[in-house]
Symmetry: C2
Subunit: 204 residues, 2 copies
């Protein structure tokens, strides 16, 4: 599958490496591609990454994502799946979207694109290699388009997330839960002294 | 230990029953005690519950808690541990404190009281009987007073939460994480079709 990333940070780097290993054709898009090039990865401009991908991935900082995506423009994203991993924080580590979510706002701004929020509840190394934990825990999916969530689910499989670890929360409005969890994530990370963990649902 | 609840709903009822069984002397406080009386439980006014408890428990609806507590007044709560379980929701199921937390606001309004936020990340039956799940998962504690968190931890033991399941997130500011998680809790509950679950942290 052709995958185009927006962003070249830890998240994009970790996921791109795993998906490349799994046989996908991955391009990273940057506003400054010449500064982000590195051995073993293809870095292009944002518009080129959008044109390349059947599936696009928003791995830009959440407080900048809407600006970046709007700059690329809705036509370039039309009819595509956009996996959104971003979480927006203010300088004081509050959410930039405290009463909605970035995922919902991207979906509203790009109605002809199928936004799927996922992988937003863990650190990059766990996103890309859940098998390194004692057990993977859960990864959540939120999106209005069932087919887009199926495509995303197969890409999650390729990262090491079995179907049994994937929990479909429902429509894109449920992205709110994934994003708001970030504050508990930070509290747990502080208590444990590491970001390398996940949460798993336990039932009766 | 003498425990005074504010609130007579599901949360207060479930916890009061378990703590009574464990040998504690429990009173439930209500604005309308005559309407809330039931066999096997002691219901008083709010001021009487405050006077009774060495440890107090806020189990009122989170959107009403600050009003209820302010009505009782800071002197009645002075020098006591206040376990806060409340989460405030708007009618649209957004948080009433989207950029801070109820726990922090109670602590700020009652500086001579030791507020401990805990048990806010699960449904009443799981709070009171985590042993009914396949594994208990985690319960989180947030508070500025270490001794108050120790007292709370022993009361959690009495509900069936072993020390190993208790995760101290830090100061009361970390209550934000517990409260914001409510939105992910609702998403997971919707996906599972039940509120009877918890989350557990998995590490490497």
């Amino acid at each position: 599958m052709r995958i185009g990333f927006f962003g070249t940070g830890n998240v994009a780097g970790a996921l791109a490496a795993r998906w490349t290993d799994a046989g996908h054709d991955v391009v990273l898009g940057s506003r400054h591609p010449e500064e982000r090039a590195a051995p073993g990865r293809t870095v292009t401009g944002l518009a080129e990454a959008a044109a390349h991908g059947e599936v696009l991935v928003n791995a830009t900082p959440g407080d900048a994502s809407l600006g970046v995506l709007t700059g690329i423009g809705p036509p370039a994203l039309e009819g595509k799946v956009l996996i959104d991993i971003g979480i927006g924080f203010t300088e004081g580590m509050a959410l930039t979207h405290p009463v909605t979510s970035l995922g919902e706002e991207i979906q509203a701004a790009f109605p002809a694109t199928s936004v799927v929020k996922t992988l937003a509840t863990m650190t990059a190394s766990v996103m890309a290699d859940p098998g390194a934990l004692r057990s993977p825990g859960n990864v959540f999916l939120s999106g209005d388009d069932g087919a887009a969530k199926k495509t995303t689910g197969r890409l999650l499989n390729d990262l090491g997330w079995p179907d049994s670890a994937q929990l479909d929360l429902g429509g894109i409005a449920t992205a709110r839960g994934q994003e708001h969890y970030a504050l508990l994530f930070l509290g747990i990370a502080g208590a444990l002294g590491t970001h390398t963990f996940n949460i798993g649902v336990v039932t009766s």
